[in-house]
Every structure is written in C-alpha cells, then in structure tokens.
Amino acid sequence: MQHVVIGAGPSGLVAAETLRKLQPDAGITLIGDEPEPPYSRMAIPYYLIKQIEESGTFLRKTANHYDSLRIALKQGRVASVDRAAHRVALADGSTLGYDKLLIATGSRPVPPPIPGMDLDGVTSCWTLADARRIAATARPGARVVLMGAGFIGCIILEALARSGAELTVVEMGDRMVPRMMNDIAGGMIKDWCESRGVKVHTSMRVTAIEKQGDTLRVSLENGDVVDADLVVSATGVRPNIEFIADSGIETDHGVLVDRQMRTNDLDIYAAGDVAQGIDFSTGEYSVQAIQPTAVDHGQLAARNMAGLSGARHRGSVNMNVLDTLGLISSSFGLWMGDEGGESAELLNRERYRYLNLQFADDVLVGATSLGLTEHVGVLRGLIQTRTRLGVWKERLVKDPTRLMEAYLASTQALGFNAAVMA
C-alpha cells in the first residue's frame, strides 16, 4: 500500500503519523513545497518576537522523527493529479504513484486587488521565509502598516507591536476579528489595542501603495496617506485547490469531502484548511481553517485511508483563541447565536471582561469571551457534548462565570445531583 500525502502542515503530518500507526508496512510519502522541515504557521509570531528559534516552530522536535517512522519527506510542488493512472505529477516533471492520496495543501494568502502589492517591503506573513523578511525590517521604531485585522492579522499584530514597531492597522470590516468576535468584543479589542499605542482603522480600505525613495506610501480610502517602512498584508486566505482543477475532484470553496473525509474519488481524501469538512454546530460543510480541526481531519482521513470502517466525522466545533497585546479572547461554535435561542452576558468594559453565552433550549451552542483564561475549554466541552443544563441554564443566565460548576453538576456525580449517572 502506497500512501501519498500532499501538504506538510499539521493535518498532513498527523495523517502520515496515524497511517504509520495503523499500517506498519505501508509506504508513506509526505510532500511539502517549502524547504524547512514541517513547521507550524501558528508559531511564526513567536519566532518574530524572537521568543523561539526557527526550530521552535517545527511540528516535531526530534531529528530522526521522520526516518524512524519511515515517512519519506519530499520537497516539491504537486502540479496535477492523474486519477486514472493513480499518479501525481510534480512541478519538476517527476511523478509519484499512490494507492490512497490525501490532499492537505492548506491555504495561502490572497493579496487585496490594489496597486503596489508587488513592491519591495510589501509582504504577507505566511511562511517562515516571510517571517525572516519581516523580522529583518520590523525593528523598534520602524513604521509598519498591517492590512487586515482578522484572526491571522491579529496574531501578527501582537508580534509586530511587541517588536517595537510603530503600528497602524487597517481593517475593512466594521470591527476587529469580525469573523470570530461580535461587535462588543471586536470593539473592546480595538479599544485595548489603541490604548496600547496601536493605531486601528476599521471600516477602512487601503486603496494603493506607492514607493517614494525608501518609503512606502499607503493610501486609505478616506484620502489619508500613511508612510511606512513595511506593509504586511493579512487580508484573507484561500484554499490551495488550483492544482486539482482539471482532475475531476469536486471542489467548492475548498475540496468537497464526505463524513469520511473522502472526495468524489474513492481513493482520494482531503483534510485541514483545504477541506470543506462538516461543522459540528451548523451541520454544514465549510472550511474552518483552525489547528484543532486540521488535526481532527488528518486523523480521521488516515483512519479511513487505512480502511478502518466507522471512522466518520461528527463535525468539528469552530473555535479560536487570540492574544492581542495581553487581552485574551476566544470564541466557540455559534458565538453569534442561534435563531430563537437565548443568551447570557457579562460585560465590564473598564476591566476588559466579557463573557457571552448562547443557548438553544438548555444547551450551550456558542460562546465569546474576553479576559478569560481559566477553564475556558469547558465552553467547547459543553457545546460538543450537547449537555442539557437543566436548572443550570438559569443559573448561567444570572452568572455566566459559573461554567465549571454547570459542567460538573451536569456531568459528574457530586453527591446531590442524582439525575447524573454515576
């Protein structure tokens, strides 16, 4: 059995490792198109602030990890898939046969359609190569414009601000992290960042970037011009599916998969940020592009590639956690609320504390938090177990912070809650 995994991010790597566990004798090739050993994009901000070396971003830390698992690492870019011949073609002209193929090619940044994106000093922050470039320029006092304050933009924001740069953020949405935070939380994050010296424009677009001498001149749609030494673009990402455009593998926004992570080709699977997997909360197939989902997908795809029956996806809970200059925020599931559902809210703007819970009947279906670092995972637990909260729902409406008590009283035998099975 020959398994080929395209994409050496967390999803592809976990799939390769899971395949090895399940099939000691199979051939496993992991193809990545970057020169470094498999690494985590999540860790790049910590490299930017010099908290870790490049090696600190590596997904696996032991030097012989891949050899010892007999996972063949191959550097190259897959150019096409020939389904009939069960073969992938690489950009260098070589080919590789497979019995089962996993597409875990992730996504890549989409530059905004404005003039000047190809100028020197304008970059995305996606790869280690990007990070090296940024680290060389974003010195204390450097003028930096960050385009985009979504999840990825905000992760980079933290690193850029902490490196001492004079930072201006331009976000076209009406608040920060609009796809992860509601207007209250997104607004509080903006206030927090501004109170710490970051200039934040929301509901604002960059219309053009020009170069005058060594200075980049960033034009905003209100007519203002911001001078910069570096412009970092984080305006969104798109799944890497172009190479399968002519293969007959069905795609939408990402690669379409079933509950076994299988595409319309019985021998081809997809996982991670490129895959349109099932969302636990909505039951719909969508690209979540988050680390825990990428790992879920990778494990599940591998189990099905190895022929384990019954390895079906019940859906991943969409969730994110973010640290913007020390203000920690998270959101889970249907954080924007369920139609007809109730909610509970605790808000303290002065102390930057916020907790918003969304219910469907007496089940927690979504949550948003700011300034909460204790027991925050229980929000995921309550959502994913669809725990019926009973009397605890009203108690949470009165005091949303009693999450752990609600969870314990609803799931563990505590001596008074006879309804909970011991």
Binding site: P10, V14, S40, M42, A43, Y46, Q51, I52, G56, T57, F58, L59, R60, K61, Q291, P292, V295, D296, Q299, L300, R303, A311, R312, H313, R314, M319, N320, V321, D323, G326, I328, S330, F332, T373, E374, H375, V376, G377, V378, L379, R380, G381, Q384, T385, R386, T387, L403, M404, E405, Y407, L408, A409, T411, Q412, A413, L414, G415, F416, A422
Partner: protein
C-alpha cells in the same frame, strides 16, 4: 505496570482548599490558589464542594491540538505534561481541552496543567479527608469519567 490516577470523591470534600495550596506550593513555590492546577468548585445551594483537575484522559485533546509538540506523555505516570521551554503560549490547548483543565498563566506566557507531580501528587497528600486519593487507575471513577468523555465527545 499499573498506572495510578487521581480519584476525586466530591462527597468527601469539605472545601478546605488544602489541595489548592499544596498544588500551588509544589508547582510554583508559593501559596497562591489561583496558580493551582486543581480547583475546588463550590455549590452553595447544595452545600457541596467538588475538587476537579485533569483526568489525564486517553483522548489527550490538549496534546493533539498543540502545534509545536509541547505536551507529551510521561510514560511512567501517564500524565500529559507541558514542556515549558517548548510551549510558545498560543493557548490552542486551553480551548481544545473540553474539561477546561488547561489554563494559561499570563505571568509566564505558558500554559499550566496537572502533571501528577511526577507520581507523587501533592494535592492527594494534603487532602485531610481522602476526597483526593492517588490509586490504581482501574479503581477510580476515572474510567467512568473517561468513558463519559469518549461517549459524548467522539474522538472521530
């Protein structure tokens, strides 16, 4: 070798918080319950207390969610331990753990969780009423707890 586990029996807990003090002293070198890896939750209406911490669950959500392999299994104890020099502080494990037992420590910029104190859990030693004991894993309600987790949260 038979692994041992923390057995938590809320019905024996008096809410004295000795476990939190012992944990924070063992782990942080200071008496600061807010840094404790075990927490006692209070149920005023029922007059009850419940100690709770990581069950070192087999699914190891935290470990699998970590992007930099900073959470590893201690083969001797079965504990999932945070390697502080590898952890970058991204906090993904804190949202991935469905039991809410991995917390972020802003003072260090790293996450903290129960590591069974390397096999001699200070909380169990400190508990005066045997609400927390360290016993053979099969005898604890832990298997039950883990079964509950496995049943309700599909590990795919």
């Amino acid at each position: 070798m038979m692994l041992k586990a923390l057995q938590l029996e809320p019905e024996k807990c008096t809410g004295c918080l000795q476990c939190e003090m012992a944990c924070s002293y063992e782990q942080e070198g200071l008496f600061n319950p807010s840094k404790s890896r075990i927490k006692v939750f209070t149920f005023h209406d029922e007059g009850r207390f419940a100690p709770y911490t990581c069950s070192q669950c087999a699914e190891a959500w935290c470990m699998h969610a970590c992007p930099v392999e900073a959470i590893v299994i201690n083969e001797a104890t079965g504990a999932k331990e945070v390697l502080e020099d590898v952890c970058v502080g991204c906090k993904v494990c804190t949202i991935a753990c469905p039991f809410g037992t991995v917390n972020y420590n802003a003072d260090t910029g790293k996450v903290i969780k129960c590591d069974l104190c390397g096999g001699e859990p200070a909380c169990a030693e400190a508990c005066p009423t045997e609400a927390i004991t360290y016993v053979d894993a099969e005898h604890t309600g832990l298997e039950r707890m883990r079964a509950h987790a496995a049943q309700t949260i599909p590990a795919n």
